[in-house]
């Protein structure tokens, strides 16, 4: 009897006029418009005598410092989840890893925007580095690496005066989980014979950036066909091959291109000696020889993996 009554009252309370006023209140409007925590919206209205425009400006002004405060508070919490983002053009392929606490957040739109923005910033910086005259291109493919601090210091492309670390802190304030732009890497080349391809797993594309838990990039050169195989001609789809090679790198986790010693462990970990994931009857070398390609370099990130 009590339970019935109790349940009933809840349905009624929802329809009371009080609730309706709350839904149309300034607080509700401000919260809907800005998405900031309710406590902050409330404070903003109180400090600005319920002037909604002033309150909104105050919130935006406060958000950055609030974010930094939150980031400082959460900085010791571990961030085992996250996403890897990739962006590439014909000259450069850049890859970053951004971490968060739970895999709920890594599926969230806001967090994914953080990853794409970080990827774009890293990509533009890499491109700028390789195009600037003071970098002498000794090898055909240049590798760049970015530490967490270097990523944080990058400029956001959309607003020239804000740094990536500010943007990250702002989002820590909004999402309420610790986050970190952990590392970045890029392969670049001004040599037009070098081509880039990438893949992420599970693949998701947001604003021109590929996101996933795993990511791989290859830099390869198309050349003369040295040993074409009749059986391979039937099963290899040249359009899909660059992506399949990246998927192979994600799946088989090679440590090097060629083996240097003679141990069988090294052979298993050398890309050219591995069975090709898409067609396990052939090795990667056989497939590459068939089409006349050479892989010059590759990068692989696995979200949350330990790095030395």
């Amino acid at each position: 009897m009590f339970r019935r009554l109790f349940h009933h009252t809840f349905n009624i309370s929802f329809r009371t006029s009080e609730m309706m006023t709350a839904s149309q209140s300034l607080l509700s409007t401000l919260r809907k418009k800005t998405g900031y925590a309710i406590t902050n919206c409330k404070k903003a209205l109180e400090m600005n005598n319920n002037d909604i425009e002033k309150a909104e400006n105050w919130l935006h002004a406060q958000a950055q410092s609030q974010g930094w405060a939150k980031a400082a508070k959460l900085q010791n919490r571990s961030t085992p989840n996250g996403l890897v983002g990739i962006m590439l053009n014909t000259k450069c392929a850049a890859m970053v890893e951004v971490n968060c606490e739970t895999d709920f957040v890594s599926k969230n739109e806001k967090f994914q925007t953080v990853v794409t923005q970080t990827t774009v910033a890293c990509f533009e910086k890499s491109l700028e580095t390789v195009l600037s005259s003071d970098v002498v291109q000794k090898s055909p493919v240049i590798r760049l690496g970015f530490s967490s601090e270097q990523l944080g210091a990058l400029q956001l492309n959309n607003s020239s005066d804000s740094k990536l670390s500010d943007f990250l802190a702002l989002n820590i304030g909004l999402i309420g989980e610790n986050m970190a732009a952990r590392r970045g890497a890029a392969l670049c080349s001004t040599n037009s014979n070098i081509k880039f391809a990438s893949s992420t797993h599970p693949e998701q594309v947001v604003d021109g950036t590929s996101l996933g838990k795993y990511a791989a990039v290859i830099a390869y050169e198309e050349g003369q066909v040295s040993s074409e195989q009749a059986e391979l001609r039937e099963i290899i789809d040249i359009e899909k091959l660059p992506k399949q090679l990246c998927q192979h790198i994600i799946g088989m986790n090679p440590q090097s291109l060629e083996k240097e010693g003679n141990s069988s462990n090294e052979e298993e970990a050398a890309l050219y000696h591995q069975e090709f994931l898409a067609h396990p009857d052939y090795t990667v070398r056989e497939v590459l020889d068939h089409v006349g390609w050479k892989i010059k370099a590759f990068l692989r990130f696995e979200c949350g993996e330990s790095v030395c």
């Binding site: 009590f2 809840f10 929802f14 609730m19 607080l27 309710i38 999402i175 599970p202 799946g251």
Partner: protein, 461 residues
């Protein structure tokens, strides 16, 4: 003492059915035959001893969980629930730290970060689970250990819903939770207007995600106050309100008596002079003597009539879901009955060789593969009492599955079987579990191009 034993019985009675009809791993052939023999003996002996089972006055059981943002007080709430119920002698207090550790647990070979807490209200017994991540909830669902019947969404009145609250509700949808109860925590730190706004926003969001936002109970309180023994309205009373709301709003899972009859066959034997008897525990529906049924599985569908129904060696006119029965089948020869077959109400089910499933690929650390699988992966599938060759294909748009991934996949079986959605299975490679999952949907049959091989199959999407 008495209380605990009753509780244990009621826990078992709900799971017995599942465990019994789907052993997680089918042992190798010889021991399996032995087990079957033992089962037969057990069955026969149960017949002779005429022990009438007295009905146990057991509480109904439900599985619930907590979902919400990391800082909104899920763990504090769970601890507070046990604290409040301990006073009434209905639970043993579990501290915040004990829950927060979310110990790694192995279920069907999968490692899951999960905390289990157990408590009772006056009305029901609850198994409460708390997982830190989306993947852990999914793994918990796939391992089939406890299907969540309801969940508490915890949201702090100070923050309101977070961007990732959407992902929390998506998860609830994904694991099949239909009934949510919202607990607005930290209500003591917010004013009335804020709490109401949070409530309105939550109801709107719930409706957006296809839950009944209007009917969903929303409780305002403070888990921390309750944990500290506070008796003001946001303290312990708010926890009691929450529990009453769960008792009321989350329905008790019912034995399915209304669906068509379905019996997974445990064993079969011949009674000289009478015919073939099959035994097993009725999974759903009811059966009367003389009902028309169908024996399904391993590519065959044989119509037959049940000429005798026995429960505990006594002929009964009707048997229902949960009963362990022996059924005499008209004009069925023993060799026609194979392990893994099911007996169903005539024309209520058909056999098929293609199914959609939710699959989790074990990591190397869990004893699984170190390499990914791609479409066309062929191994042995073990489910219920049968095993068969199976082919795993990725859904369109996916090329591979990495160890640790969970995904929708399409399964093609070497022979057509009768499988129900929800049935768990494992896939083994060289006698190691490499994948585990549940069947979610029957798909249109595939044609095996070579007849007896899964290397080449064709099907329409």
């Amino acid at each position: 003492m008495v209380v605990t034993s009753v509780r244990r019985i009621c826990l078992c009675s709900n799971r017995l059915l599942l465990l019994k009809s789907y052993p997680f791993q089918v042992p190798p052939t010889l021991p399996r035959l032995l087990i079957q023999k033992q089962r037969l003996i057990a069955w026969a002996s149960r017949f002779s001893s005429q022990a009438a089972q007295p009905a146990q006055p057991v509480k109904a059981h439900a599985n619930i969980g907590t979902i919400g943002h990391v800082d909104h007080g899920k763990t504090t709430l769970t601890a507070a629930i046990t604290k409040v119920l301990q006073k009434d002698g209905l639970a043993k207090f579990v501290s915040y730290d004990a829950i927060d550790r979310a110990p790694e647990e192995k279920a069907r070979g999968i490692t899951i970060n999960i905390a289990h807490v157990e408590y009772s209200t006056e009305k029901r017994h609850y198994a409460h689970t708390d997982c830190p991540g989306h993947a852990d909830f999914i793994k918990n669902m796939i391992s089939g250990t406890s299907q969540m019947d309801g969940a508490i969404v915890v949201v702090a009145a100070t923050d309101g819903q977070m961007p990732q609250t959407r992902e929390h509700l998506l998860l609830a949808k994904q694991v099949g939770v239909k009934h949510l109860v919202v607990f607005i925590n930290k209500a003591d730190l917010a004013d009335k207007e804020m709490i109401e706004l949070v409530e309105i926003e939550m109801r709107e969001l719930l409706s957006d995600f296809g839950f009944d936002g209007l009917a969903t109970p929303v409780i305002h309180g403070s888990a921390l106050l309750a944990l500290n023994g506070d008796e003001s309205s946001f303290g312990a009373p708010s926890i009691r309100k929450l529990l009453a709301a769960i008792d009321e709003y989350v329905p008790t899972p019912q034995r399915d008596l209304s669906s068509p009859f379905w019996l997974p066959i445990d064993s079969a034997f011949t009674v000289p002079g009478r015919g073939t008897v099959v035994t097993g525990t009725i999974k759903k529906g009811t059966l009367k003597k003389g009902d028309e049924t169908e024996l399904l599985g391993h590519g065959s569908a044989i119509k037959t009539v049940v000429t005798d129904v026995q429960v505990f060696r006594k002929s009964v006119p009707v048997a229902q879901a949960g009963d362990n029965v022996g059924l005499l089948l008209r004009s069925i020869k023993l060799p026609q009955v194979q392990r893994g077959m099911v007996l169903v109400a005539a024309n209520s089910a058909t056999i098929g060789n293609r199914y959609r499933a939710q699959l989790y690929l074990l990591t190397r650390g869990e004893g699984g593969r170190s390499r990914p699988i791609i479409s066309g992966y062929i191994q042995q599938i073990f489910s219920a009492t049968w095993n068969l060759a199976v082919r795993v294909d990725m859904p369109s748009g996916k090329d591979m599955l990495m160890p640790g991934d969970h995904s929708d996949v399409n399964l093609t079986l070497l022979k057509r079987m009768a499988i129900e959605p929800g049935q768990p299975f494992t896939i083994r490679e060289n006698n190691y579990n490499v994948a585990t999952g549940i069947i979610t949907e029957r798909l249109s049959d595939a044609t095996l191009v070579k007849g007896d091989s899964l290397d080449k199959v064709t099907f329409s999407e």
